[in-house]
Amino acid sequence: MRVVAAEFRKLLTLPSALVAIGFTVAAMPGLAAQTASQIAARLDAGGPEVVGTVSTLNVGFYLVPFAVIGPIVLGIVLAGSEYTRGNRDTDGGRQITASLTAVPARGTLLMAKASVLVVLSGVLAAVVVPATIWLTQTVLGEHGHTWDELAGTLGWRVAGAVAYWVLMSLLAFAVTLVARSGIVPMIFFVVNSSMVSFSFLLTRATPLAKYLPDVAGTQMFSPDYPAEGMLGPVPGGLVMLAWTAGLLAVAALVLTRRDA
């Protein structure tokens, strides 16, 4: 437990982690509310109820696959900050050597870090996603939906979105631990969460792309994924879970076997 508490303190005193949390908390509800007010203005003017692919129903939800960048950055800095070289005041040392001196059991250290990440990104998702839905429906006002309607269409998707954020942050964490540097994971995961992702590009080239972790995981919450023949929400979630478990196992194996 003390190791978990220590990892919490380490992560929450990293400026990058605080920026990532602040970005997620501010940007997702803010951008979604802005979209909602545009939709409301259009409806008031008698226009269509969709802006692009965003409707009054999914307006609180369409940013989930982009705002996941916040949890991803948390996962990357949680692992990557241990391997960043310090300045000359610390003899250019890396924090991982101090961490392993304090907690020589490497499995314990990994478990503590993973627990911290699951709790933080889980809480972040469980707060930000429902808050965004509530905020956008408030902004929509009379054009909004009743809670029954929302629960009927979005209900389980909210849980899916939370699971997606948690698993995505764990994936980024595992890859960073193996790479022992945050640079490549940062580029890969952030670019892949952009408007048109690598994986989405691959779904056009090969049907096997539906088994990629993010493509499969997106089915847990996406009501309108723009590709054919995808997995269902539950199989999709299980495939993403399998990727995450597999990569964490690899990370555990490398962390316990090799020199820090």
């Binding site: 400026p15 990058s16 920026v19 990532a20 970005f23 940007a27 951008l31 802005q34 979209t35 545009q38 802006v51 692009g52 940013l63 982009f66 960048i69 950055v73 990357i76 800095v77 990557g80 900050s81 960043t84 070289r85 310090g86 300045n87 000359r88 250019g92 945050g182 640079i183 940062m186 580029i187 952030v190 670019v191 969460s193 952009s194 408007m195 048109v196 690598f198 590009l201 691959l202 056009r204 080239a205």
Partner: protein, 224 residues
């Protein structure tokens, strides 16, 4: 003094060349760009020009990394102190670093753009795309000088270029004045057409100059 500045540029070039991450960045970016252009082109959904523009948009990640590495690689482990002991003039040092970046980025951008267009089957090579890639890296250079950390600078620039800008662009036409979206007008037409390619280039260059100015002022004032 002039020969002195040239020697500093030469030193910065040696540093960049001998940093394993730099050749890796250049090689990986060109290879991944060509690979993506091949995959997306084979899918045959978009026109060759669209495919080329799309993969060039991905390729900017490589230039952002190059710009960040040029500056921030010195902050891990503290070589910046050695550097400043050798070259105490901080403005001169920044100018030399920027020159070294440009000397590598220009051929790198040209190769990337040619690879993207050739593989995607687009005829003609947009010079604007090359200029855009060099400028986006210069922006990352300025951000890295301000925040002094590879991961932080990388996180900021990538989130701007790949998440914040595209999302804001769907919300407000003022987003066209963001540095990357304005610069992208140099090679990619975008609705609604607020800026011409020339104006886009000027807006992006203005962002780069302002941020570089702020970063140099901060670098000259504070402890390294």
């Amino acid at each position: 003094m002039t020969s002195h500045l040239w020697r500093v540029v030469a030193a910065e070039l040696i540093k960049l060349r001998s940093l394993p991450a730099v050749p890796a960045t250049v090689g990986t970016t060109v290879a991944v760009t060509a690979g993506l252009a091949f995959v997306a082109g084979r899918a045959g959904v978009d026109s060759p020009a669209d495919v080329a523009f799309q993969v060039i948009t991905y390729a900017q990640a490589g230039f952002i990394l190059l710009g960040v590495l040029t500056v921030a690689a010195e902050y891990g482990g503290g070589p910046i102190r050695t550097t400043l002991a050798a070259v105490p003039g901080r403005v001169a040092l920044t100018v030399a670093k920027l020159a070294a970046y440009v000397l590598i980025a220009v051929p790198f951008a040209a190769v990337t753009v040619v690879a993207a267009c050739r593989v995607a089957g687009r005829t003609g090579v947009p010079v604007g795309a090359t200029a855009y890639l060099v400028l986006v890296g210069a922006l990352a250079f300025a951000v890295a000088l301000l925040v002094r950390g590879v991961l932080t600078a990388l996180g900021i620039m990538l989130t701007l270029a790949f998440a914040v800008s595209p999302l804001l662009a769907t919300l407000t036409e003022y987003a066209a004045y963001l540095p990357d979206l304005a610069g992208a007008r140099m090679f990619r037409p975008g609705p609604p057409d607020v800026l011409t390619p020339g104006q886009g280039a000027v807006v992006m260059a203005a962002w780069v100059v302002c941020l570089l100015g702020t970063a140099v002022a901060a670098f000259a004032q504070r402890d390294a």
